[in-house]
């Protein structure tokens, strides 16, 4: 199996690694970089548990090869809290009980954060559509929507 050297920015740090051509980005993140906050739920791009942000766009890392991330900027859940301070989206999930088992949560937070970066004050329907690529089996979504609304209000205050 051929290997390739890839260089990318991971959570603000330059990383260079040797990977097989077939290595999936999610396995690269979890196994090679040992960043286990990004989860695997389905292998078929259906559930969104593996969502990371690649060059500013939420991306399901189970159907991207690690080599495709070469030269790009990758953000994972581990980078969202800065300097020991939670991001407003994380605060919202905690305040509003936007999680139960926590397995979909990192992907959900990455999607929500990207959504709010594009649209600071989304309507409820825009939030629901915005997170429709991420499946949560526990919460019934009401409180995830409230969590994102909380973050939206907080981010708008700061603007």
């Amino acid at each position: 199996m051929s290997t390739h050297q890839i260089s990318l920015s991971v959570n603000g740090e330059a990383v260079t690694r040797e990977v097989e051509a077939r290595t999936l980005l999610v396995h690269f993140i979890r196994e090679h970089l040992e960043l286990t906050g990004t989860h695997i739920g389905c292998d078929t791009t259906s559930c969104g548990a593996c969502t990371v942000v690649l060059d500013g766009r939420p991306t399901k890392s189970c159907t991207v090869f690690a080599v495709q991330a070469n030269g790009r900027t990758l953000e994972t859940i581990e980078s969202v809290a800065k300097g020991g301070k939670l991001h407003p989206v994380q605060e919202g999930f905690w305040e509003k009980h936007g999680l139960q088992c926590g397995f979909c949560t990192p992907g959900m937070i990455m999607t929500a954060k990207s959504l709010l970066e594009k649209n600071k004050q989304p309507t409820e329907m825009e939030i629901r559509e915005g997170i429709s690529g991420n499946i949560c089996r526990c919460t019934g979504y009401n409180k995830i929507v409230e969590a994102i609304q909380y973050a939206s209000a907080k981010l708008s205050e700061g603007a």
Partner: protein
Amino acid sequence: MTTTHLVDRIEKHSPKAPGVSARVETTDDVEINTPEKVCGMGHRMKRKEDPRFIQGRGRYIDDIKLPGMLHMAIVRSPYAHAKILSIDTKEALAMKGVVAVITGHDLKAAGNLHMMPTLMSDTQPVLPIDKVLYYAQEVCAVIATDRYIAADAREKIVVEYEPLQAVVDPHVALKDEIIVREDKEKQTNHVWHWSAGDRAATDAVFAKAAHVVKQDIYLPRIHVCSIETCGMVANYDKAREHMQLYMTSQAPHAHRTVFALVSGLPEHKIQVISPDIGGGFGGKVPVYPGYVICAVASLVIGKPVKWIEDRSENLQADSFARDYHIKAELCADAKGKLTGLRVRTISDCGVADAAANPSKFPAGLYSICTGSYTLEAADVQVDGVYTHKPPGGVAYRCSFRVTEAVHMIERMVDIMAHDLGRDPAEFRLANFIRPDQFPYKSPTGWEYDSGNYEAALRKAMTMIDYAALRKEQLEKRKKGELMGIGISSFTEVVGAGPAKDFDILGIKMFDSAEIRIHPTGKALARLGTKSQGQGHETTYAQIIAEELGLPAADVQIEEGDTDTAPYGLGTYASRSTPTSGAAAAMAARKIRAKAKKIAAYLLEVGEQDLEWSVDRFRVKGSPDQAKTIQEIAFAAYTNHPPDLEAGLEATDYYNPPNLTFPFGSYICVVDLDSGTGAVKVRRFVAVDDCGKIINPLIVEGQIEGGLTMGLAPALFEEIVYDENGQNLTGTMADYLLPTAVESPKWELGKTITPSPHHPFGAKGVGESPTVGAPPAIANAVVDALWHLGVRHIDIPITPQRVWKALREHGVTG
């Protein structure tokens, strides 16, 4: 009587203040007895477990990485029924990085480990010797140094099969023309027969009935599909002869005992650790073949071995839920008073009875099916049948088979109401068990602990403005628009259970708590249950805070490690609060009793002179003279009475005297598209009564999540097999889970009718909505179509099914 008249009648009932139920009062308000800093019961405390999850620091099974760890991949059968002619492993074994291939013959040679017991004392194959019995059955397993190499090697294993005819339909299986389990002494596909109620009394009631309705109802196979699949890391240490098993387990202690019995390893040399669990819902109760193969692999090779299912393996081979074929008859007298219920049901077990039911209950608690109504008699009979499908019969976020029971009775009551021209709400109110009838003995033998069904339904009707909706429906109907209103007034039965009746493999279904108070007034509590998202680290701390006045923030909760936690039966069937929650309160009360002795010693008064107030004992009539729980804890290690042992800790194994019976009333409004058959849930009001509330925030989360898991099988989810037993829904692209778009904005209400026998009056809540929601949705859809002649549609109510019903009844638009 026309519907309009009924609307008028209902409007005359102003919503009553909640009333009295036997010995317990129904209220609307959550009780709070402690200040915010203590955060006892009733506080909307933010969850203590959340900081790790929102920062990606949870530790789930696939996050566990041990030095030298190997990886396992499983070869699965492409046939539902076939002879295995040969398994050629040569090419796979020759690959670099491949350590071993394990077959059924290897397991047989290792001590008949190719078969294992199920939780229902049946048997099922771990790996086959000469035949496969279901599609995606485990055939053999590869162990390699890397996940990718294991997957490559799996492709190099050549298995030759001779396909045989599969029997997929349980009605066909009952003819015994093809025997599924040729290894059994009795050559029949009929597994068991079970009955409840009184057949003769029911026949008599039906003989004199004025009205009878009959309906066949099928509740299809569905899958819990937790977002985390199942997995294990087995770590056998040859030098210590110690087996450490990290596994996705809802019941770690029970699984340790099963492993000890199956493997012959002594139980004290087995440690099961259930780490953070990414959703369970019943799917992580059984022991799957993959766990056993993984543990054997580590035992034989002497290195840690990891097995993580992929989603297709999870959907195709793990335990399913439901698969009940129901024939129901409900009768009423001339005045429309319900009198009798007759139910015949076929339970499709797949190739083994691997359900997760208490031993004495092969059909679970299905006999709760008389529901919220007073009936004179009931006759319930269920037959279990083998077919060539994966084994199972686990719950899907519901207490043992209660969803099947509730769906049936709520559909039947609705059909009866419609047949009699009665409004479904008014008809239910007229037939409910009344508050003064509790504790209520049901015709199938249950003793309902407390309830106030009328209060819950009236509250839901007020919240949704039921009368206005019925008027709107009439107007819409005149314009040819299809709008339906569906009600479900369910009775749950949870908290298994009393030791006299409830056990799994002989182990009684108590549960446990152990609390230690440290000298500085902080505490550690360990319990026999295992959270999978329910928030135990918070709610158990709040229970202990309520009882002892220690801030909930100062109470560390631990579960899931069998070396440290007291023995328990685990978390499923909404049993944690009724059992371990009760044990936590009882253990705390033992601690308080000892604390009182210490306080009396410190204050130099008699125990009878002391009274408890939130977080301290104070001298009656002299409240300034007091000792806080923290001062008492310190004294327990530094200055304890000479005639008392040092320390401040207690353990309790709680055996519930009865089950608990949460209930609720849900009302759903749907709009149907007559062109496409699409069902849109416009509104959904859920009034739940789960008794005393520990944390309202968490209870709301449980209800909202359960409602979406009720919506899912009502409209979307079904595991479908073709005639050869092939699973056609093996990915999330085929098996449709609701997203935030399909899931409506749930509207919640509550009444609170405490359980009279639980130490603090709680009942359990995690599964009520999954039980109650599907019939509310199905009833709403049928209500929209009843005037066209549609009497019933089986779930999932897909657009195709509605479209077909519309065309069959002459609607073409």
